[in-house]
């Protein structure tokens, strides 16, 4: 036993040493997809156009709020191709030109692009300039031609452009210089050569421009004034009539501009409906002859019957969504109407001039977790019996996308996962007797066969078929996607909160959605018009004595964008996805502080700071209060006011002194403040250590047997400030007027422990803080390169504990409690290195005990994740390290950090629109789980020092067995032989 206990650490050490020699983490080709998964999403669909040509595959082209243009397969919902435009290149409109190009207008109407539909290649791109900023409108008329060129009409930046569909050349343009003119619609009546631009000027003037589509010549300009003004939204009911609302939202105006003459017809809404209840708004639609308005309680559909007469056709209090009109035959236009009724949705397709007759009426059972229908897009096809069939694409409140056809959901996409706000991990239930364990191998024969295959693979005897068989066997090994906790802690649930307010639990094994829950508090409701999900916290992580409880997460949300809006807390069970409880708070939430204390049921105490600087304790139990009271004077926190450059420290004072007695509310006080001079510094990044980070040892043994003590404090804050001038884009300032200052601030006392200025440096700054070091990334204007710097901070007050005798006699101060009110004796070491890439996110690997060496995970501009060993960012690297330093593992100094192609964690994949990287420790010390999210999701396991504590998954047990059998056989054979020989010897 003793031998073993000696041997195991030795082995670990040896393996550690071995792995440190080969820092490159890489993957063989056949290991792709074994431990990692990748999912592609597109985000919430803004606009969809169908491309259903007679030949070729049926597809739908969509533009989304994540700035993605994608072509989806109409049969299965898969992505054919996809392009992610930058975040500053917001898509304003898409359409199809000539049946084979997708035309997109983006960047506030200044970039027009054409993409080839079959393969998504860009055909041309043109830049449209204009005199002023304005609404941008895209119109692709079907049969408007100028000298055989099909024309795209774009109104953007106060200018009307006619662009050739073939090569993107601007054929003509026309300025609308009138200062206050705001275009609302660009209309091209079919079959004519005229273009109408209508809009409002000032607040009460309606303007109409009639333009010759062939050359952009202004034919007519009419204006009419309506004294009480307009709401800015209009609905087009025919090619020469629009409907608008007056500024009070109570009078409907039918504006017709036939033959260039503008005429108004006023109809008060109260004439149409008895109880209009509040101001109305026009729902954007373009169904001929019909428009919809929405009041607080009702959605009202109104038909226009010639000469501005209006007639209510339907008034409903269900949530209703209407699609745009779709021409189906000569003079007939169909549109789709979706209404909610309980757990079903009713889909009706109607012809525009016949409200009462339905072309199609279906009801479809809809998952309540998807919320309301937000958008409807309609498309038709010819059925086998030559009649018209319709399919609709609907976008739900949770941002999912569904295709409905023949009364059923053909496919659905969970595109809410493209906009993840927060991620937390949760364990899976422990395997119990009742829980059935899926058998991996069915019988011995298959088991043996599998291992024989693996053996063949190892000995390079496998044929291509065998290799394929091995691969598929590995992939389907159901072990990794089981719903129970595993010994190594690889199987977990990733609980993610999306921007739509939906919680998803993803299984780390294969990335499938285990459950999803649309939080009640994040549904749009009467009391809360624009709920926003904010954060996700682990509320209860049962272990030890509360094993029977299910773990739960806390979701914090808020009604509306401003910080004093009342907050809502929701508690969700992570095993089942059930909402356990929901608390609507009277106060807002500015800051949430998870405290390092838990009660007897392992519920974590949280302190919520509201906008009046009161602290509120949750959970509101007497036990929690008792625990809290005990630690009352040891609770400190800080707040960053980055708009005015002040960081403040706070502590608790006493019970709230309000009228209502609230035991769980506390007054706070300011303890310290750091005020950055507004003329020279602006806060652009603040980073702290992760709360749940584990540090294995405080001491760091350096070369020549010396010891340095890491300054490990949970209360360190890294702040980066830049010159206010230099906070713009890279290159907007000269190196002389730009600098970056990095601070390490103690958040209990407000002491600045370290402060360093980088002259000629500029943001954006991305930083990561772990143990006693911080790494930050910025741009060096002088060297014209990106740079990464590291600061390590060491504690000097413990430095004299090196004497062994002191340690033996107990005369050291290593176990004495540390007070941050002591004067800190720290030294810092820092170093800068050049780095080739710009960075989207930085994270660091975290393991269960913190023994394994660390790797930085860098989200590069190419949407990949690069693993970089922390040893490359060691401030003690020198040009010629001494022998002792080399043995310690110090790499000789280089000016730039190496980018080793094999160390891309995402190997050949891209996590489009990468926003965040989350690391979760597995139970196995060597391994960490990495989850990268953006528009795409990517998950993998990493072992920064290789898996020194376990055998790899493809370890060939059969080979081992075979060897043992062979050895045993050999022993027997040689024994027999020797015995025989001995016998012969004796007989001699």
């Amino acid at each position: 036993m003793a031998i073993r206990s000696f041997f195991v650490p030795f082995l670990l050490f040896a393996l550690c040493f071995y792995s440190s020699l080969t820092p490159v983490l890489s993957l063989y080709e056949d290991q792709v997809g074994l431990m990692d998964w990748h999912q592609q999403y597109i985000g919430k669909v803004k606009q969809a156009v169908f491309s259903t040509q007679k030949t070729g595959r049926r597809r739908v082209i969509v533009s989304t709020e994540e700035n993605v243009i994608a072509s989806l397969d109409l049969r299965h919902g898969e992505i054919f191709w996809r392009h992610l435009l930058g975040s500053d290149d917001v898509i304003d409109g898409i359409d199809i030109g000539l049946g084979k190009y997708v035309i997109t207008l983006s960047s506030g109407g200044s970039v027009l692009r054409s993409w080839n539909i079959p393969d998504g290649q860009m055909v041309w791109e043109s830049f449209l300039q204009g005199p002023k900023h304005s609404k941008s409108l895209l119109l692709v008329p079907t049969n408007l031609k100028i000298e055989k060129d099909n024309v795209i009409v774009v109104f953007s930046n106060g200018r009307l452009h006619a662009v050739s569909c073939i090569d993107g050349e601007v054929l003509w343009n026309k300025d609308f210089e009138a200062e206050s003119f705001e275009a609302q619609q660009v209309i091209q009546p079919p079959g004519s050569d005229l273009i109408y631009v209508i809009g409002f000027a000032a607040s009460s003037q309606f303007e109409m421009y009639q333009i010759n589509a062939r050359n952009g010549e202004l034919l007519k300009h009419e204006r009419a004034t309506f004294s009480s003004g307009f709401l800015r939204e209009v609905s087009l009911v025919s090619s020469e009539t629009v409907v608008a609302l007056d500024s009070t939202g109570s009078i409907l105006l039918t504006i017709s501009f036939q033959n260039g003459e503008i005429s108004f017809q006023q109809t008060p809404i109260s004439n149409l409906v008895e109880d209009p209840s509040g101001p109305a708004a026009i729902l954007p639609s373009s169904v001929p002859g019909i428009f919809a308005i929405k009041t607080n309680a009702f959605t009202i559909f109104i038909r226009v019957i010639g000469e501005g007469k209006l007639e209510v056709v339907e008034k409903t209090n269900h949530e209703t969504t209407v699609s745009n009109a779709l021409p189906i035959s000569e003079g007939q236009q169909a549109f789709a109407l979706v209404q909610h009724a309980g757990s079903e949705i009713h889909l009706a397709v109607k012809i525009s001039h016949d409200w009462d007759g339905n072309l199609l009426k279906e009801s479809i059972k809809m998952d309540q977790q998807r919320g309301l229908v937000h958008k409807v897009f309609i498309n038709n096809y010819i059925r086998t019996d030559k009649s018209h069939g319709f399919r609709v694409l609907i976008v739900m409140e949770d941002h999912s996308l569904l295709l409905l056809q023949q009364g059923a959901i053909v496919w659905s996409r969970e595109d809410g996962l493209a906009s993840i706000i927060d991620v937390t991990a949760s364990g899976l239930p422990v395997e119990r007797d009742g829980v059935s364990v899926a058998k991996v191998e069915h019988n011995l024969f298959e088991w043996l066969k599998g291992h024989m295959l693996k053996l063949k693979g190892t000995l390079m005897l496998a044929s291509p078929q065998d290799v394929a068989a091995i691969q598929s066997m590995r992939l389907k090994s159901s072990e990794k996607s089981k719903m129970t906790r595993d010994h190594n802690g690889f199987r977990k649930l990733l609980v993610v909160l999306t921007r739509a307010g939906k919680l998803f639990a993803l299984h780390t094994g294969d990335g499938r959605i285990v459950w999803s829950h649309f939080l009640q508090s994040l549904h749009k409701s009467g009391t809360c018009q624009s709920p926003i999900g904010l954060n996700l916290y682990q509320w209860q992580v049962p272990h030890h004595h509360a094993m029977d409880e299910n773990p739960s997460v806390l979701v914090i949300s808020r009604c509306g964008p401003c910080s004093d809006a009342p907050a809502v807390l929701s508690f969700v069970d992570t095993y089942t996805g059930k909402e356990l409880n929901s608390l609507s708070l009277v106060h807002g939430v500015v800051q949430v502080i998870p405290l390092p204390y838990t009660d007897s049921t392992e519920q974590r105490l949280h302190l919520l700071i509201d906008s009046d600087k009161h602290a509120h304790l949750y959970p509101t139990t007497s036990e929690a209060l008792r625990i809290f009271k005990r630690e009352f004077s040891n609770i400190y926190w800080y707040s960053v006011e980055d708009h005015n450059g002040i960081i403040k420290g706070h502590a608790l004072k006493c019970k709230c002194t309000g009228e209502v007695a609230d035991e769980f509310c506390f007054d706070t006080r300011d303890l310290w403040s750091v005020v950055f001079p507004s003329e020279s510094e602006k806060i652009i990044a603040t980073v702290t250590r992760k709360l749940n980070e584990v540090v294995h040892t405080q001491a760091k043994v350096v070369a020549d047997q010396d010891v340095m003590y890491k300054y490990i404090s949970r209360n360190l804050l890294f702040v980066a400030t830049v010159a206010p001038k230099g906070s713009g884009e890279i290159g907007s300032v000269t190196p002389e007027e730009s600098w970056l200052v990095a601070y390490l601030i103690d958040t209990v006392t407000g002491r600045i422990l370290h402060r360093v200025t980088h002259h000629g440096a500029q943001g954006p700054v991305h930083a990561v803080f772990s143990e006693n070091w911080v790494v930050y990334h910025y741009f060096n204007l002088r060297a014209h390169r990106y740079e990464m710097s590291v600061i390590e901070i060491y504690d000097q007050s413990r430095a004299d504990n090196k004497d062994v005798w002191k340690l033996v006699l107990g005369k050291h101060n290593l176990t004495s409690p540390i007070s941050l009110f002591s004067r800190p004796e720290v030294i810092t070491k820092s170093q800068s290195y050049f780095f080739t890439h710009s960075v989207k996110a930085i994270a660091v690997t975290s393991t269960a005990k913190g023994i394994t060496s660390k790797q930085l995970l860098i989200g590069t501009i190419g949407d990949q994740v690069l693993a970089l060993d922390k040893r490359f960012l060691d401030p003690r690297r020198s040009v010629n390290p001494t022998q002792a330093e080399k043995e310690e593992g110090i790499i000789p100094l280089t000016d730039s950090l190496p980018i080793i192609p094999q160390s891309y964690v995402t190997h050949a994949l891209r996590v489009e629109g990468l926003r965040g990287i989350v690391t979760v420790p597995a139970k196995l010390e060597s391994t960490t789980l990495v989850f990268a999210h953006g528009v795409d999701l990517f998950f993998t396991q990493l072992a920064p020092s290789k898996t020194y504590d376990s055998l790899t998954e493809d370890f060939s047990y059969a080979l081992l067995l075979l060897t043992i059998v062979a050895l045993v056989a050999a022993i027997f054979v040689t024994w027999r032989l020797s015995e025989r020989k001995e016998l012969q010897d004796k007989w001699r």
């Binding site: 303890l671 001079p677 006392t749 407000g750 002259h759 409690p817 009110f821 002591s822 004067r823």
Partner: protein, 293 residues
């Protein structure tokens, strides 16, 4: 005291003279740490953190400009508060402002005079000590136009201050004429749990340090060296000679183990033989006896 300083300045000037006449002269705004003890107070007993990296250049720059620069004297006050009480004046900092030819201004020669506690303040402070509450101080964030944008506040548990008298330590972080932050507390450690201890003397001994930002070391640039190395060509870097042990440890350890094993076996063998011999004699014993018989 002043004469000593003057002499020191002269010596410094002489010492730095070579730096003035030649060498690189940066026109960058460089910042340095300056520490000046409190008048009448003993010199700080502990080594102050100083930036040594760019020190020669820094001082040279300062000296070069000193002829052109104008000095002016300013004062700003320190306020204090007991627990959550309002702030009241507690002392005055005085310093000289140095205006550089390029427009920058910095503070030098900081002095601090602390007002003694009045009886009432003493009582308040005692209360703080008893309740283990915070003693708070504040400074203006701009010394030219106090209070600037906001006050810089710092606090410390009152029980950290009393020693013989009341010891306090200020590190004022400056950026030009702006105060960024002040690290305030006891000059030494403040052990936890904090015990109630009343000071013997009710007078403050204060240490003040002015601190400006350090310059970050620049990233090393090796491109030229590498190019040079390539041009040099033939020179092959000899791998450093490793010791015998470093080269062959992987053979030596198993060898050692085998030898150890062999030795232990060899140790066991004679023992066994010895016991065998003993047994032999025992066996032989009777036979010899029989012979004798």
């Amino acid at each position: 005291m002043d004469t000593i300083k003057v002499v020191a300045a002269i010596i410094l000037t002489i010492y730095l003279f070579p730096f003035l006449s030649f060498g690189f002269q940066s026109d960058e705004l460089l910042v340095d740490d300056e520490e000046f003890g409190l008048e009448g107070a003993p010199q700080p007993r502990f080594p102050e953190p100083t930036s040594t990296r760019s020190a020669p250049v820094t001082t040279a720059t300062r000296k070069r400009h000193s002829d052109l620069d104008s000095d002016s004297k300013i004062e700003f006050s320190l306020d204090h508060a007991f627990g959550d009480s309002d702030f009241s004046p507690a002392g005055t900092f005085s310093a000289r402002i140095k205006t550089w030819s390029h427009g920058g201004q910095t503070l030098t020669k900081l002095r601090f005079s602390r007002n003694n506690f009045t009886n009432e303040e003493q009582k308040k402070f005692k209360n703080l000590l008893e309740s283990d509450d915070f003693y708070r101080i504040r400074l203006p964030s701009n010394v030219l136009s106090p209070p600037g944008r906001d006050f810089i506040i710092s606090s410390v548990k009152a029980r950290c201050l009393p020693r013989e008298g009341l010891d306090e330590h200020f590190v004022i972080h400056m950026e030009g004429v702006n105060v960024l932050a002040v690290n305030y507390g006891s000059p030494g450690s403040c052990s936890y749990p904090r015990n109630l201890k009343l000071p013997v003397k009710w007078s403050f001994s204060s240490y003040t340090v002015l601190k400006n930002s350090e310059q970050a070391p620049r990233a090393p640039i090796f491109t030229e060296e590498i190019l040079g190395g390539e041009n040099g060509g033939g020179e092959v870097v000899q791998p450093p000679e490793r010791s015998f042990w470093a080269k062959y440890w992987m053979y030596l350890i198993p060898l050692g183990l085998i030898i150890m094993n062999a030795i232990t076996q060899a140790m066991n063998m004679p023992e066994e033989q010895a016991t065998g011999q003993v047994a032999g004699t025992v066996q032989r014993g009777p036979s010899s006896a029989a012979r004798r018989r």
